[in-house]
Symmetry: C4
Subunit: 178 residues, 4 copies
């Protein structure tokens, strides 16, 4: 078993950045002041699959948006930390609350503010279109870009390391689903 | 005549998933609570061409959206089933109503919740950007991604199998259209 | 001088389809009933350059949208025909009004409803992502997709055929612009 | 040290066009009259990094939009000049105010109205998807398209020329950030 697989197998919480990871890296502004974000249903299903197997999912983002709350609620994500540029400190606060060690965390981010968390988490992950310098410090990089399948891939990577992916897929083939 | 052509020729209803198939795979959320979906006019024309030749088109989606009703109404799609994650059961209910057998159904979906329906329909179809595991269980995969031409290709594949595509195109060349 | 250059040189009006040509091929619907279209500033500049040299620009579209009126007004396009699926007949009506022959028309469209007009116009044009069957019947195809530079390329092709492009570019280099 | 590096090292203000540079080149119009623009968080971080090192950032755009004011305010950009098609003159006015010479300006634009400014600025820059004729007259072209990383690359290019990029990245790795 590779070191990377061991790291993935031991993950107890997947922590996600929003812009460029759970959402694509676009800030969409209307001239009436409205903001819009886009999400991907395949990422949402990945998160639900992971949660169904007892792995928690959390969000830490530097910006503030009601949209993130709505999407988190849809996906049953309970830990949503917004408005924190100091992501490593925010992550450490979350881990104290969850009584978990950094070695049990998979952290997925795409840019410099995520770098310290990616570098110190047990499993540092980036989407395919992350900042190149951040990518160099990650343990794992997805083939799909952020907001378009990167999170799904990350979830499946963790499920596969635990030997759970094939069984979950078989359930859908038989029509029993989740 | 290939087995695939025979399957396509016998199709009496094309059943479509929405997110990732009829719409591109993006959930677009505004901070005022509004949701947005994108559709493709070329897909719409494909659906109208298919309907004009007596093949029905239906929609089954796991989510709920007024946008889907609006787009379905524009395209003359009468059978619209929303909010059903159990897609195979929803499909079976529709077929009872239409007095049709699964062998006469083309079902196009892109992710695990569509897998049982794709695998049991007479013609299982996926867009080019479907989940790889789902693609393995489909009979046919489009070259265009979902929400950007995949449905048009599916409609033309069925029309071609029935020997109807060339005549329809000729009508447009002569300016008589549909 | 190639036959294509001669056709382009003699063009007195460029007629554009909207969805898939002047706008990208996406219908963006909100659940409050709002519709959105996207345009490209580079296409807009191409239209202004062409008009500045005495070539008219017109729009014929099968759909109906206030957005098209707004964009046409911004670009100084006076001839805007909406809600016409019978595009060749709509084009013929426009030409009667403009006292022009079909041989003096460049028509750019992307799908089957445009096919008769493309095939009969003096210069039939399509964007890079047009329907393949329609492309086969066009005289010219852009390298850029619709709504993302296809119209700019079409305008520059006509200006180049008239020997006007280099001079226009030089004006911008010298800061005199249009 | 290459001539290009010297040009970049001496830059005291980075001046940005909006559509096609700071925003992607799409004009998004709703049928209720609303306009939307998209921005990229990675570009925003690049601007903040550059400003933190004493290089000013300014905006000159031919269009008028409240969205630009909002995005500029978020990023701490004080010099925002809108509604000016005569960009070189607008730039000269700004330089008088800032008491700077054209040789100390990096100007990034993507189309013909930017050409004179790009050609006369100390460092003329374009995104990867700029007009080809404009690109020929630029000193530097990004690998990323406008509105999706081009501005970030431009900022990092200037920081690298000043020997500041590695230190800034190291700060993020250590979790001290900006």
């Amino acid at each position: 078993m590779s070191k990377l697989t061991v790291q993935a197998r031991d993950v107890e919480v997947l922590v996600l950045d929003v812009d460029g990871v759970l959402s694509n890296g676009l800030l969409i502004y209307s001239d009436n002041g409205e903001e819009t974000k886009t999400f991907h249903p395949a990422d949402g299903l990945g998160i639900k699959l992971l949660q169904s197997q007892g792995v928690a999912v959390a969000i830490i983002t530097g910006r503030l948006s009601r949209i993130v709350e709505k999407r988190a609620a849809e996906l049953g994500i309970k830990h949503v930390i917004q408005g924190r540029e100091d992501k490593l400190q925010a992550l450490e606060g979350l881990l104290t609350e969850l009584k978990l060690d950094l070695s049990r965390v998979a952290y997925m981010g795409d840019d410099l503010p995520d770098l310290a968390a990616i570098s110190q988490a047990g499993l540092g992950m980036t989407p395919a279109d992350a900042d190149p310098f951040v990518m160099e410090h990650a343990d794992w990089c997805s083939r799909h870009p952020g907001g378009r399948g990167a999170v799904r891939e990350a979830c499946e990577f963790i499920l596969e390391a635990r030997g759970l992916l094939a069984g979950l897929r078989q359930g859908f083939l038989e029509g029993t689903g989740l």
